[in-house]
């Protein structure tokens, strides 16, 4: 998502210098007002009374529970979407079968659909009034208002990233090396592990970083399916909302700062990885639908 360090050009001249300074001021001013100052403010507000209240807010049982639930959701949704994402990328890039277009569309849908709509759609299948609701409750399986539903919501919204990041790398790699492996006696599994995966690994890792960021931050879909039960189905973003609505500014800010730090770590990882995979632009839309939307 970030580009290479741009080079500067354009000739000098005092009037151009002035207008350039003007444009720079407007652009940076806009960014400061919209992005940087609000972000700085929340860090200031969180730490203005020292570390003690922050520590207290962080070690609150419900906060701890929300944190670990977030980790649990990531730990389930990210590996699933990584494995299936690589599989989808291989199918779309290497397979030849009817319905490729449909598959491409299905994995892009999460980009086009509001998280709230995702949540509602899941409720309509797995909720009490949903298609499978009766069957599920007869068998004592809770999906909606429970962790499995949150897993589904998290996995849905973070589905496309690994596939979408892997596809262009696979395309660039071409099939020669894989065919060479086949003529050397490697079976499909050996070819994948020894030749394909090592060649696409940085694309996959980039996709995993985006998937993780999206899974950690998901709010709309989980807020529909979770029931937002304190200490049970509240992950970190839901906990932020809960604290905020209960006028616990410190609790809300502390959790928000934890999430903001994770987001900054994501940016750092994205930038390091872009350098590794410098050959390609992260921005060229890989699909007929939307490229990267977290």
């Amino acid at each position: 998502m970030s580009t290479e360090t741009p080079r500067s050009s354009a000739p000098g001249g005092s009037s151009t210098k002035a207008s350039r300074l003007g444009l720079r001021t407007v652009a940076l001013g806009y960014l400061a007002l919209l992005l940087l100052l609000p972000l700085a403010m929340i860090f200031y507000r969180t730490f203005e009374h020292g570390l003690a209240p922050v520590w207290k807010a962080m070690t609150e049982p419900n906060a701890m529970h929300a944190f670990w639930l977030s980790i649990e959701l990531v730990a389930i949704a990210v590996p699933l979407n990584t494995v299936f994402g690589i599989g989808i990328a291989l199918l779309l890039e290497r397979g030849s079968f009817r319905g490729r277009g449909v598959l491409g569309l299905v994995i892009d849908l999460p980009f086009a659909i509001s998280p709230i709509v995702v949540g509602l759609a899941l409720v309509l299948v797995y909720g009490q009034v949903g298609w499978f609701g009766t069957w599920l409750s007869e068998h004592g399986i809770d999906v909606i208002f429970s962790v499995p539903g949150m897993v589904l919501a998290t996995a849905f919204v973070s589905l496309p990233f690994v596939a979408r990041e892997t596809i262009p790398v696979l395309r660039e790699l071409g099939t020669d090396a894989e065919q060479a492996a086949a003529t050397l006696g490697a079976n499909a599994w050996q070819t994948f592990w020894r030749v394909t995966l090592p060649a696409i690994r940085w694309g996959v890792v980039y996709g995993v970083v985006l998937t993780t960021a999206r899974a950690l931050g998901e709010f709309g879909a989980v807020s529909v399916v979770s029931g937002r039960i304190e200490g049970q189905t509240q992950q970190l973003p839901l906990y932020v909302q809960d604290r905020f609505e209960n006028f616990d500014a410190t609790g809300a800010y502390t959790a928000a700062v934890v999430l903001a730090l994770l987001a900054l770590a994501t940016l750092l990882a994205m930038n390091l990885l872009t350098r590794r995979t410098r050959a390609r632009s992260k921005l060229a839309p890989a699909s007929n639908l939307n490229p990267e939307v977290i």
Partner: protein, 255 residues
């Protein structure tokens, strides 16, 4: 083969069945029932507000997003790399945190003495925040390709800076700007997390489509929720499909 089967099950459980259920539910009572839900006054107000605010936000994005891209490519200043990296922050930051962050500065107890909570301005601001990267990130690579020699040539022929921008730079950037606009618009249509805390969700005033759907789910009015969901989803798909058709037509034109 086993892998394909598993993949089919995964996608069905996760995506295909839920979307099918949504479509089924919204068309449950036929077209007239669908229309009744969509045209209820509150739903109408929410959809109109969503479209209106999204349009304003997208227009602002077109201007500021392009400006930011230009400054990041053609200007040189200390800390540019950091600024460049931070552009992606709205993509990485959880949306609910975006709402909290904006309120910390512009909310009731903010240091500026401004209070935007529960206003349409707040809704617009939240949407501006989450859609910030789209235009900038699609314009940036095009500006990088445009190496400035055409601009210099035009300037050497006596064109004023404004003319150079209007005649040379802007036409080259237009497809990228449109693409950024379309992605911003699709995103703004469905945005929830950043809006829900900041807007107060006042029906007929600050309640956008996604928040309306959420309210109807809470009220167990699933037909209304499903109908408006389908409207938002179809609108976003139309925008993205149009973008895809446009960019394909363009790439054919180029090659």
């Amino acid at each position: 083969m086993l892998g394909r089967g598993l993949l089919g099950i995964y996608l069905s459980v996760l995506v295909v069945l839920p979307i099918a259920a949504l479509l089924a539910r919204s068309s449950h009572g036929g077209l007239s029932a669908f229309w009744r839900e969509v045209s209820s006054p509150e739903a109408q107000a929410a959809i109109k507000l969503t479209l209106g605010v999204s349009a304003v936000v997208v227009a602002l994005n077109a201007v500021f997003g392009t400006l930011i891209a230009w400054v990041l490519v053609r200007d040189e200043f200390r800390g540019k790399k950091v600024v460049n990296a931070l552009i992606d922050l709205p993509f990485a930051l959880p949306t609910v945190v975006a709402g909290v962050v904006l309120l910390a500065l512009y909310g009731k107890n903010g240091p500026l003495g401004i209070d935007i909570t529960f206003t349409r301005t707040a809704v617009a601001m939240a949407l501006l925040f989450v859609t910030l990267p789209f235009v900038t990130r699609s314009v940036q690579p095009v500006l990088l390709e445009l190496d400035g020699s055409a601009e210099e040539a035009a300037a050497s022929l006596g064109a004023s800076r404004l003319m150079v921008f209007r005649r040379i730079v802007l036409p080259a950037l237009t497809p990228a700007i449109i693409s950024g606009i379309a992605l911003s618009f699709a995103r703004a249509l469905g945005e929830f997390g950043s809006v829900v805390l900041i807007s107060g969700n006042l029906p007929f005033k600050t309640e956008v489509g996604s928040v309306y759907i959420f309210g109807q789910i809470q009220n167990e009015n699933l037909p209304a929720a499903a109908a408006v969901s389908v409207v938002l989803m179809v609108l976003a798909l139309i925008v993205l499909a149009a973008l895809s058709v446009l960019s394909r037509a363009r790439s054919k034109h180029v090659h």
